[in-house]
């Protein structure tokens, strides 16, 4: 016999879909089928069942081979490197729950670590801009029920947030948007003709890296002032038409992604996008929202901000929290060679940091806590496999619109495997002993 579990949360992207159904065996040991999830979410659930999964901590030997060790030995190594390091970096946190993040922060305080999450290579510049200019935002429910003007700027949800469009932003029929897609005008700004752009009413195929100019031109067009013949490779007439279309909406939303956060100008692009949102509020109701990637990167920012006062790039090395992106951010700390121990959890900097920075990780004592095999585990001294959060253990997570949602446990982890939080608690307790705090 099998059981169907409904209303399961998908732990892949920041959309945090909450309508997944999974079929599990009677003894809760095997996950057999996944319904309603996108192709990526389905793969995430099913990969937890793979037969070749690493189930015990492993230590990287000099000759490249791995030696299996116990969880207790893994706890000891992790606590020792954190206790000895002058400036350890504790990075990741976006693919684990808020409870584990909070436990990690206790460890960070004890070891006076630098703490950072994947916003470092994602929406970090957004967080800087929000501190500069504020964030007129809303929830995804409001978007579904009200939005009749939807702008995707430098983001491609058809690939990165596959169900965002059907659940919230393009297709659903909401309270004031009864005709679904017919109720909405969609604008996509992207240098490529993305699969999202193919669904748009207007695609502004912008010259790459000219987002600031185009955002500024739209603000000028709203005010009816002079514009040059072309801005960012687009004709003046098209910019004015889009500005007029935005003015006539009843409720509009700007979703933005890596196209603006990672291109040159970075946080200034988002400053300008927020100011465009502010200007549009003179004509109608407008909001803006970052398309957060990892399913709980928003939660990590919330927990850092709650406990340390800053959402990422926190440096505790002086015994109190400092925040100065460019100085206390992971990429810069590693690039300057300041880090003398690396602790990675719930992320893969080995694959997603520039290689010159990854080389620094390979030089220092390191631990990677991850259920998968990744480039980061491949260069770390210690690999600690843990239960899949959101599949094999529950816990609190934050959706991209800052709505907290509890993930659910649907299947048992392999025998004897610890969760992120359980492993971190053991490390914290051992670190307390080493520091004489217990």
């Amino acid at each position: 016999m099998t059981k169907v579990i409904t209303d399961v949360i998908c732990p892949f992207c920041g959309t945090l879909c909450d309508d997944i159904e999974v079929v599990v065996s009677d003894d809760d040991r095997h996950l057999l089928e996944v319904n309603n999830a996108c192709v990526i979410g389905t793969e995430k659930f099913l990969h937890s069942q793979s037969k070749d999964r690493v189930v015990r901590p492993r230590f990287h030997q000099e000759d490249g081979s791995w030696k299996e060790i116990s969880y207790d030995e893994a706890v000891e190594y992790t606590a020792q490197i954190l206790a000895k390091a002058k400036k350890p970096l504790m990075y990741g946190w976006s693919s684990t729950n808020c409870e584990a993040q909070s436990m990690g922060n206790e460890i960070a305080e004890l070891s006076r670590a630098c703490c950072d999450n994947t916003a470092a290579v994602c929406h970090g510049t957004t967080l800087i801009a929000v501190q500069d200019a504020g964030l007129p935002t809303c929830t995804l429910g409001e978007v579904k029920n009200r939005a009749d003007r939807v702008i995707f700027w430098g983001c491609n949800p058809a690939h990165a947030h596959p169900r965002h469009m059907s659940r919230y932003s393009i297709f659903p029929r909401g309270f004031f948007t009864g005709k679904g897609q017919m109720s909405r005008k969609i604008v996509v700004v992207d240098p490529r003709v993305t699969d999202t752009a193919k669904m748009a009413d207007v695609h502004l195929q912008i010259e790459q890296g000219r987002d600031y100019e185009l955002l500024n031109a739209l603000r000028v067009a709203l005010k009816g002032e002079w514009l040059p013949e072309t801005v960012a490779g687009l004709p003046e007439q098209q910019i004015r038409e889009v500005a007029d279309m935005l003015k006539t909406g009843r409720f509009g939303i700007i979703f933005f992604g890596m196209g603006v956060t990672q291109s040159i100008s970075k946080n200034h692009n988002i400053d300008e996008a927020i100011m465009l949102t502010k200007d549009l509020n003179a004509y109608s109701k407008y909001s803006i929202m970052p398309m957060r990637g990892h399913y709980n990167v928003t939660g990590s920012g919330e927990v850092f901000a709650w406990q340390f006062g800053f959402p990422y790039a926190v440096d505790l090395s002086r015994g109190f929290a400092r925040y100065n992106p460019g100085d206390t951010s992971s990429i810069d700390l590693l690039a300057r060679g300041e880090i003398d121990a690396m602790f990675t959890i719930g992320s893969d900097p080995g694959a997603h940091f520039p290689i010159s920075v990854v080389k620094q990780i390979a030089k220092v004592p390191s631990v990677c806590i991850d259920p998968h095999l990744t480039p980061t585990t491949g260069i770390s001294k210690l690999h600690v496999p843990v239960a899949f959060n959101g599949v094999e253990c529950g816990g609190n997570c934050y959706r991209m619109d800052n709505v907290p949602i509890d993930c659910r446990k649907v299947v048992e982890p392999p025998e004897g495997m610890l969760t992120d939080e359980e492993f971190l608690r053991k490390v914290r307790d051992r670190l307390r002993q080493l520091k004489g705090v217990a």
Partner: protein, 135 residues
């Protein structure tokens, strides 16, 4: 003389990249999804390369061998796309300009045909570049 073409590189997600990272980065499917460069037809013609040919992509910050494929989300002449992953990150601009964020999009790169050079697996590539012995 090897023919080459200079393009503006952007990196980012693709749905194939998403599926590959969740199904296992040690697998060949990760290389198939991310060890590629999506190029516009016009740029492939300039390069004089057949589709699905291995190419060496070089920037100021490094070089990597990937497979050149025809763009799936074009046209975008002058712009090329490598899905986020270790192949893209071998050549992106690590400068953060005091924001903490490397410049993952908008990196000038040169593409030249390299049919006899292999595209490495993801973990293999990072281990090689970091001087870590493989298993």
């Amino acid at each position: 003389m090897t023919r080459s073409v200079t393009v503006n590189l952007i990196t980012g997600r693709s749905i194939q990249q998403g599926v590959a990272i969740e199904s296992g980065k040690e697998k060949d499917s990760y290389r198939t999804a991310c060890g590629i460069i999506e190029m516009d037809n016009a740029d492939l013609k300039k390069l004089g390369a057949w589709k699905n040919t291995n190419v060496r992509v070089t920037s100021e910050y490094g070089d990597v061998v990937v497979k050149a494929i025809e763009t799936t989300q074009g046209p975008h002449p002058g712009v090329a796309f490598i899905p986020m992953g270790p192949w893209a990150n071998s050549i992106v601009d690590p400068n953060t300009y005091s924001t903490g964020m490397p410049t993952f999009k908008g990196v000038p790169v040169t593409v030249e045909v390299a049919p006899d050079e292999p595209v490495l697996l993801g973990i293999e590539l990072v281990q090689k570049l970091c001087g870590v012995k493989p298993e």
